[in-house]
């Protein structure tokens, strides 16, 4: 694979590229899903190929080939250069200098998830489903996934890296229906469970069988719960929903390609400007956000990104002030700070983009119970149900699967169909507490979409429950 990359890079340079890189990716993914006691999906997917990126007279070109052969590598390089030469524009692109990355990395695993048989994976899901049996639950579902990705990267500047990343994860859902109402509860997260760069031990730690009865009972209980009323109140947000809150309202707006407008046509831009670095107040002093591709178990964990830049932990928001952007070598050169380190591509057939790696809301202190104890009247919100945010990442609205009334510092009745909304910096400025390290969990999501053609990124967020004051729940009357 290293030779193929070398040949692709050489071919691109011979075709006129001033810089080129090549990435061979061998991906294998297994998904087992069951639904209402039957296998819904049982597949084993392999996708291999080489992607070549070339900079010709300041213009990028990217092409790929599924053939892992000299012929395929050279064909991709030639096409990447030809596409770059045809590209319209002034093209004054530069790359921030960086010491070429060289080395290897392997995800540490205790039990290789591909050594767990598919039959055992099916049985694992079916056992979880049995635990969700309930007269009001119409649909139970469970799934587990595993992925191994071998990534070999070579650049014309001398970077040469070899990494093998292993992921697995899963989730369970119970959907209850009665009298025209439908409600859902999920564990450990909605919309695809949670994953980690780890072995099968991670799936076992999710404890599907233990959690299944609670998930079903809460789904059924939601059918009888009152709708959450609209109000301005204090909310305590659980760690799982804080994952998505951090992802959408901190992760995406701090992607420097969005700040410069290059995602405007699809994912959107950002309310942040390059000049905001170091001065913009993003939130309260309790807000500390860090990008860390070295986090054990993170889906965004690697030794080198897809430009060969070594992994580095960097502050993004410190005590409420914007301290960093997520960057590529190109955007780092443009802003004149750093060397990138956040470039990631989905497989071998897509061009790397600025992506989140592992973006964490750093823990504060105390427990979830202490957060709740500090609320006279408010809500405790758990597990995402719906999410939407505007193209500059300002106005957001999230729905959660369940809300619990808080009165005099104690949890009360269950409420359904809760949503909350806000403007990003206003909302984060209302943060008055983040729970401590004992409550901090790393959640991994696999459905972060961006780019044209579209790319999925797998990213993780470490979060603790957090408390926000004066938040609009439901709709302003």
């Amino acid at each position: 694979m290293r030779e193929l990359c070398d040949e692709a890079v050489s071919a691109a340079l011979a075709a006129g590229a001033s810089y080129a890189d090549a990435r061979v990716v061998l991906r294998r993914a297994q998904t087992v899903a069951t639904r209402n006691g039957r296998v819904d999906r049982l597949d084993d997917i392999e996708s291999d190929g080489v992607g070549v990126r070339a900079l010709v007279d300041g213009a990028w070109g990217f092409a790929c080939d599924r053939r892992l052969s000299k012929e395929g590598a050279e064909a991709a390089a030639a096409k990447a250069c030809a596409f770059a030469k045809a590209a319209t524009g002034g093209h004054r692109r530069a790359l921030a200098p960086v010491e070429p990355g060289q080395g290897e990395y392997r995800t540490p695993v205790e039990r290789d998830p591909f050594e767990i048989s598919l039959a055992d994976k099916v049985a694992h899901c079916l056992r979880a489903e049995e635990g969700m049996a309930h007269e009001d639950v119409k649909v139970t579902s469970a799934f587990v996934r595993a992925q191994r990705e071998k990534r070999v990267f070579v650049s014309s500047e001398g970077a040469a890296t070899d990494q093998e990343l292993v992921e697995c994860g899963g989730g369970i859902d119970a959907m209850a229906s009665r009298d025209g109402i439908t409600q859902i509860r999920s564990h450990p997260s909605a919309h695809g469970g949670s994953s980690s760069q780890a072995g099968w031990e991670y799936v076992e730690s999710l404890a599907f069988e233990r959690e299944a009865p609670r998930v079903a009972e809460q789904a059924a209980a939601l059918l009888r719960a009152d709708p959450c009323p609209s109000m301005v109140t204090t909310i305590v947000v659980d760690a799982e929903q804080m994952e998505l809150q951090t992802h959408e309202s901190v992760g995406h707006p701090t992607e420097l390609d969005r700040v410069y407008g290059t995602e405007a046509a699809y994912a959107g831009t950002s309310f942040l400007k390059p000049g905001d670095l170091g001065s913009l107040r993003y939130g309260s002093e309790h807000m500390n956000v860090t990008a860390d591709p070295t986090t054990p178990g993170g889906l965004g964990t690697f030794a080198f990104d897809d430009e060969g830049v070594p992994a580095q932990r960097v502050p993004v928001v410190a005590e409420g002030v914007l301290r960093g952007f997520l960057a590529s070598r190109e955007t780092a050169a443009r802003i004149g700070s750093g060397s990138g380190g956040s470039m990631r591509a989905d497989g071998w057939s897509r061009m790397p983009l600025v992506r989140m790696t592992n973006l964490h809301l750093e823990p504060g202190e105390g427990s979830l119970d202490e957060l709740i104890a500090g609320v006279d009247e408010g809500l405790f919100l758990q597990t995402n149900k719906s999410w939407s945010i505007d193209d500059k990442r300002l106005n957001f609205q999230f729905g959660t699967q369940v809300a619990w009334e808080i009165k005099d510092g104690r949890l009360g009745r269950m409420l359904r169909d809760a949503t909350y909304t806000g403007q990003t910096p206003v909302f984060w400025s209302s943060l008055d507490a983040v729970a401590g390290p004992d409550e901090w969990r790393v959640h991994g999501l696999t459905n972060c979409g961006k780019g044209q053609p579209g790319q999925h990124a797998h990213v993780s967020h470490g979060t603790s429950p957090a408390r926000f004051r004066n938040v609009q729940v439901g709709f302003k009357s």
């Binding site: 084993d44 990217f62 599924r66």
Partner: protein
Amino acid sequence: MSEALELAQRALRAAEGDEALALTNSERSGLARFAGSEVHQPTLIENDVVELQIVRDGRVGVAVANRTDDEGLRALAARAAEAADSAPADPDLPGLAAKAEPPAVEGYDEETAALSPEDQAHLAAAAIEASSLDLYGFFTSGLTEVAIASTTGLAVSQSMTDSCIFALAAEEGESGHAEQTSWRVGEVDPAEAARAAVAKAERTRDAIELEPGSYRAVLEPYAFAELVLYFAYDAFGALGLLEERSYAFGRVGEKVFDERLSLADDGLDPGGLPKAFDFEGSPKTRVQLIDNGILRDVVWDRATAKRTGRETTGHAPPSSLRRWGPLPFNLSVAGGEAESTEDLAELVGDGIYVSRLHYLSVVNPREGVITGMTRDGTFRVRGGRVAEPLVNLRFTVSMPELLAELPGLTRDTALVNDASYYDERYPSGVLAPAVATAKFDVTGTGSTPGI
């Protein structure tokens, strides 16, 4: 025999002695993505993907690969067989589709299939050069060949072309969008799309806020198509109906929408992006989902059809989307009588005008509640005319309420691209008119137009 079908037949032969179905997807595409009037992310993709489904004693396993030599196909078959052996038997398995002749459809254009990377770059350049504002977006075209072969005698293939210009003209405080999609590149005019985007953008400067509330509204085809699509994925699939979790449950045969509304899923319409068969190899059929306001039916695949003693309508999804059940990939809303969006503004009188939406999310699938933001051209409508620009608005709408009173729909419909080009290419889009609605609920305000 097409190369895609030949590959499917080879994969089938590798599945020695088993009941099997092989599905291939071959993609040759280019996407010239631009930002700030520069092509910055041009991507060429060539890939051949084979999915092999093996059935053994009622047990099903699927393997997918893009290695297409004999050794690669043998390995694929071995993995599919292992997967099948790992599954418990499913007594309700509908089995593989029988041999059937797919309908003759259009959707392939030689000129589009022949576009070179240089042609694709030049078509992107045509949009950029026609724009007086910074332009963001892409030109893409592709040739996708899908084939299915099975031990039950299926041997079907389809070559599809698609092309799309997406233009977002934007600078600080102003932005406008236009796009054109067709399976014939000759029907796509990048310069015209860019000029339309600029014209829209120039009207969005100095946008003001709007109080949340319920408004009458004009929705351009881009906005209406996206709302219909999000609603339809939950409301008009048979699995949601059978599982008693969709809006359609208990309402089939009832008049629940404005009588001016008729919605079909029609893969045979040459005005859309035609499809001859679904991912099980079943022939596509036209399904009338809403007929003059009456909810008539949903779409079905073989598994859901068997549960109710019906026939499939040809709407099986790819295996990766099976949890959704059958899906409508060719939605088509019938046009009405209005000649233009100006006519719709007259019908609205006092309200808002929405060009395009962003980041939709289903808040309550059972009740068809959807939230999202407007973007790139939101305006006040006053006295029956489009008036001052508005900032981007958050909306949270009940689709049944939005569709309950539609004072007007334009006669003409537009093909709105629905493909974001994740994973394997599969052209899809929604044919939709612009509409006037009596109820569009604004629940907040967001960012200003522009970069």
